[in-house]
Point group: C2
Chain length 193, copies 2
């Protein structure tokens, strides 16, 4: 998505530790008008796939997932996995572990069994795909529910980190709107064409 | 909002410990088509207020805030406060404490100073208002930034818990789309008319 690449190039900085700061439109301040275009693009890419539910994980995935949902007909609900198994969703949950390579910690994410079923045709949405730990956890949860995964829609994929390959090797159709080939503080960001 | 009261009455259960389960459309599974109507109602209520930014807190507030934003002209960005001061938003933040009476714990929420300023005319949005701890923390953060608070849009207010009164006494215009007068597992939910 050309507009997204231009926005990343214009507004985002790369920091030591392989960090791309997208706080200005995607992770802290949400550029709703722009993310609505991102959502529209996901709806265009996955039109005809029969998507009847969107699965994401809190917190940043929620904005993109909701703005995307409204461009599908009929509008599917969004279910977001919760972090650290809060008591208020009950004990009857599908869970999986997400390892954060940035922080060196692991987090459990959970979805109540009430909200996923074998009748679901899921679009998984997330803001970032790097090594793929969060996306694999969401796919594991979908598999445990017996749901069908139509595909995964990613805003930004760090293509050099391999997570996209892992998901595609599982047979999942992955559509990333911007694919970063390489990045560093000195040379900046190169996109995969 | 009549539609919201009907939805709560039809789909939500009350549990011991003053808990209203709204997981089915607001807190875990998000009924995007319905929440879009909720967002439209906030835009109608606060039209003409000059809102140029929406402030909320992760995670459940994000969906309603984003869906509401798109019904304002021009579409304002949404800034969401982060919980437990993650390192990735930097150290230059506005912070405030939120006390959860349900869990008996306190959490720090933070917003980067990059994303709030005295030029902001803020609509604060959240899913729930009970004793008002989260809303007061957001209002404290807005005050610290020197921003103007146009008002607070709440999906469900537990009117008997007093948080709305605290905010209104601060001079904040609070618009709650459903106001619960009382609730218990036996007698169910009574709305304030």
């Amino acid at each position: 998505m050309k507009l997204l690449e231009e926005k990343i190039a214009a507004e985002c900085s790369v920091f030591e530790g392989d960090i791309l700061k997208v706080d200005g439109f995607l992770n802290h301040r949400l550029d709703v008008a722009f993310l609505n275009e991102v959502g529209k693009e996901f709806a265009r890419l996955f039109a005809g796939g029969g998507v009847n539910k969107i699965l994401t994980v809190e917190a940043s995935g929620i904005a993109v997932a909701c703005l995307a949902a409204q461009h599908f007909t009929p509008v599917p609900p969004v279910v977001f996995a919760k972090k650290n198994s809060p008591k208020n969703i009950g004990k009857d949950v599908f869970s999986a572990k997400v390892f954060s390579f940035t922080r060196g910690t692991s987090t459990e994410i959970s979805v109540s069994k009430l909200y996923l079923s074998p009748a679901d045709k899921l679009l998984i949405i997330d803001d970032f795909l790097a090594k793929g730990s969060a996306l694999c956890a969401l796919a594991d949860i979908a598999d445990a529910a017996g749901a069908h995964i139509v595909g995964a829609g990613i805003v930004i994929e760090k293509a050099y980190q391999g997570g996209g390959g892992v998901l595609r090797a599982r047979g999942i159709r992955v559509e990333s709107l911007a694919m970063i080939e390489s990045m560093c503080p000195e040379a900046g960001i190169k996109f995969r064409s």
